[in-house]
């Protein structure tokens, strides 16, 4: 009763609360409509395609669709002994159809991913199948090559029956499902992807550390110098920041080559012999040096913007209270810069972990990262589902860091330049 009488009404008789809520909703819709075009654009052209990558990475319909009758017949097979005539006949029927469509090559590539040795026996089978007589396909197929009489190969075919598979993800970690259906690692000398993942982490980590060690003093100098000097020095940070990545990589290629200036300098001061110039490019060193210089501005700028807000009187207060300059720095100044350190390190780490161009140009074989492997599978082997799987594995790592970054720094606190 009392709440009704106390209600404040607007001039047209609607309760104020309702009217305010309506206005609020209207404002919300207005704000959302402004964001909507970009959001929609990004969802269609960017977010969905990343989802599409997820789908591609587990999609394994190709073989399922190439051998429909075989898999149907295999449903009753327990996988212990060789399958019976029914399966062989179904396989023959599927195979003849594939040969007609000239798709048996694709089948052999796909099956070879599961088990080595399919390529040659499928080629042999294609030639032999032209002369096959009707009936008793088991005998005829088995006589083409002894592997066709090996139950392992039939199990390998059976493993490709499901429409979806996680094997590309396992392959990205150098693992596979073996004959018994267990997940095992590949032989030690073939674990190329694990090496790449570890190397990517290692390079990203050390590049971040180097960037931090180099950026901290100069950000401090920039923040404490009088404006007229610091503006001039700031150009040294901003000019590389605005310069093309390829230009900067090119300059490192010139500097680091065997007859390059850095080597000339080392020879000049007698550090190395002229006929024994070290290889500084096309290996890890190249990746380290070039990536550190290229990513350095991304560390300096967040550090600088935090240090700029620290009042110099705090250090003076620390010293006046009896701290030596080092103690004052360590106990007062350094803790205040931690938000900047967090922002800079995460930014550099995120950028470094997905680096592609620079390692591809100066990294050689021992300095390339996981991104280069993804590009290789996209452009050379055309195994797009594997590229997608590795891309998503990398992405999930980056998203964890992104989430941390958002927690620590806040995504709307990113500052540029």
């Amino acid at each position: 009763m009392s709440s009704e009488t106390n209600q404040i009404l607007t001039t047209d008789g609607i309760p104020l609360e309702v009217s305010l809520k309506k206005a609020e909703r209207k404002n919300k819709i207005k704000a959302f409509l402004l964001v909507a075009p970009l959001l929609l654009f990004l969802i269609i052209t960017y977010v969905f395609p990343i989802g599409d990558m997820l789908f591609r990475s587990v999609d394994d319909k190709m073989v399922t669709q190439m051998l429909p009758k075989t898999f149907k017949a295999m449903e009753n097979w327990d996988g212990q002994e060789l399958p019976d005539e029914e399966v062989f006949a179904a396989f023959h029927e599927d195979f003849v159809k594939l040969v007609e469509d000239k798709r048996e090559g694709k089948l052999s590539t796909q099956l070879n991913y599961t088990k080595n040795g399919f390529k040659s026996i499928i080629k042999k089978l294609r030639r032999a199948s032209k002369k096959f007589e009707e009936g008793n396909y088991k005998e005829q197929i088995m006589s083409v090559h002894k592997r066709w009489a090996d139950v392992e190969y039939w199990r390998a075919i059976q493993r490709r029956a499901p429409e979806f598979t996680g094997q590309k993800y396992l392959k990205g970690m150098d693992m596979y499902v073996n004959e018994e259906g267990k997940i095992v690692s590949v032989e030690e000398d073939r674990r190329i992807h694990r090496v790449l993942w570890l190397r990517t982490l290692e390079i990203a980590f050390f590049v971040t550390v180097f960037c931090f060690l180099m950026a901290y003093p100069i950000a401090h100098l920039l923040a404490t110098l009088p404006m007229k000097y610091s503006n001039l020095l700031m150009i040294c940070v901003l000019l590389p920041f605005w310069t093309s990545l390829l230009v900067r990589t090119a300059s490192w290629m010139i500097l680091l080559q065997q007859q390059g200036i850095v080597n000339d300098f080392f020879v000049g001061i007698g550090l190395v012999a002229d006929d024994n110039r070290p290889e500084m490019m096309y290996n890890k060193t190249g990746s380290y040096v070039a990536m550190t210089q290229i990513l350095l501005p991304f560390m300096v700028l967040p550090l600088y913007s935090v240090m700029k807000t620290i009042s110099p009187s705090l250090m003076r207060a620390g010293k006046s209270l009896g701290g030596t300059p080092f103690v004052a720095f360590w106990k007062v100044y350094f803790p205040l810069t931690i938000p900047g350190i967090g922002a800079g390190c995460l930014l550099v780490f995120i950028l470094a972990i997905g680096y592609y161009i620079t390692p591809a140009l100066v990294g050689g074989a021992s300095g390339t990262l996981i991104s280069n492997q993804i590009a290789f599978h996209m452009k050379s082997t055309l195994d797009w589902s594997f590229a997608s799987a590795m891309g998503l594995m990398l992405l999930s790592g980056v998203l964890v860091i992104y989430w941390l970054y958002n927690k620590i720094v806040g995504i709307d606190n990113i500052k540029l330049g």
Binding site: K28, A31, V35, M53, P217, L246, R248, Q293
Partner: protein
């Protein structure tokens, strides 16, 4: 940074060590860029300093590679430069329009799910380029836009908008919303208010966001590598192929031009930043 007179000797020494370290880091940052300048005037076909150049012999320097860049018959730089500028300009326009409008919505205090939406809008900047490249390639291939200018422009809009969103939101954070209310109370409709009041005030932020978008597009190579056909080659693609295959001094001539361009952009961006800070009353 002059030290007070009472500074003890070992702090004095430490201070000079610190300054030396800073000097070395600045040198490390900026020096590599300056190697390109003299070498682009090399009269010979090597990417290292010839003896003549070390003696500053005028005959050792020439404009040969610049001529080759412009007039060279087999050189794709003309087409590449044309494509790069066309793509970058359209991508910038697209990014600026979409990004600015979105930033207006985002900085409204009524915006629902602000954090989540911001995270989606910024994601193209955070997600490694190679992944963006793969995803965008899948989309463009399906949409039939692979190997077209349109496809590349759209891809660069995706990559460029985060920068516009960030810079414009930052500018709007210091924006006094009472001026738009004043305009509205004087009978101006929202579009008119935006064009006459808001836009002129946030223009520095919009332009610097646009510069970021322009540079992003102009310098982008990973996504273009997936998308471009022979017709859509850009300067970064030509540099990439050049650096991988036939490393010729012509690339250094192009690189020099790019450094000059980036210097111009840097100066513009800095002037805008200072103007914007002055307008927002941040005096430092």
């Amino acid at each position: 940074m002059a030290l007070p007179k009472y500074t003890e000797p070992h702090y004095r020494i430490w201070h000079y060590i610190y300054l030396t370290i800073c000097g070395a880091v600045f040198f490390f940052l900026i020096a590599p860029l300056f190697v390109i300048f003299p070498l682009s005037f090399n009269a010979e076909e090597f990417l290292s300093f010839s003896d003549g150049m070390k003696r500053l012999d005028p005959d050792a320097f020439s404009l040969r590679w610049y001529k080759d860049m412009i007039y060279g018959t087999k050189n794709p730089w003309g087409l590449a430069a044309k494509n790069s500028f066309i793509i970058a300009i359209f991508a910038t326009i697209g990014s600026v329009i979409l990004g600015t409008v979105a930033a207006l919505g985002l900085s409204s205090r009524h915006m629902p799910y602000k954090g989540l939406i911001m995270a989606v809008l910024i994601s193209p900047m955070i997600v490694p380029l190679i992944i963006s490249g793969v995803a965008i390639f899948f989309f463009m291939a399906k949409a039939g836009l692979a190997a077209t200018h349109t496809g590349i422009v759209l891809a660069h809009i995706i990559l460029g908008t985060p920068f516009v969103v960030i810079t414009v939101t930052a500018t709007l954070s210091g924006f006094d919303h009472s001026v738009t209310r004043a305009a509205a109370s004087l009978g101006s409709d929202p579009v008119n208010t935006f064009m006459k009041i808001t836009l002129p005030l946030i223009l520095p932020g919009v332009i610097s966001g646009g510069l970021f978008a322009f540079v992003t597009s102009f310098d982008e190579v990973v996504v273009v590598l997936f998308l471009a056909g022979l017709e859509n080659t850009t300067i970064p693609i030509q540099m990439w192929t050049g650096l991988r295959e036939q490393l010729s001094p012509t690339i250094l001539a192009v690189a020099t031009c790019l450094i000059i361009l980036s210097t111009l952009i840097l100066v513009t961006a800095e002037l805008l930043r200072r103007r914007s800070e002055r307008l927002r009353g941040i005096n430092r």
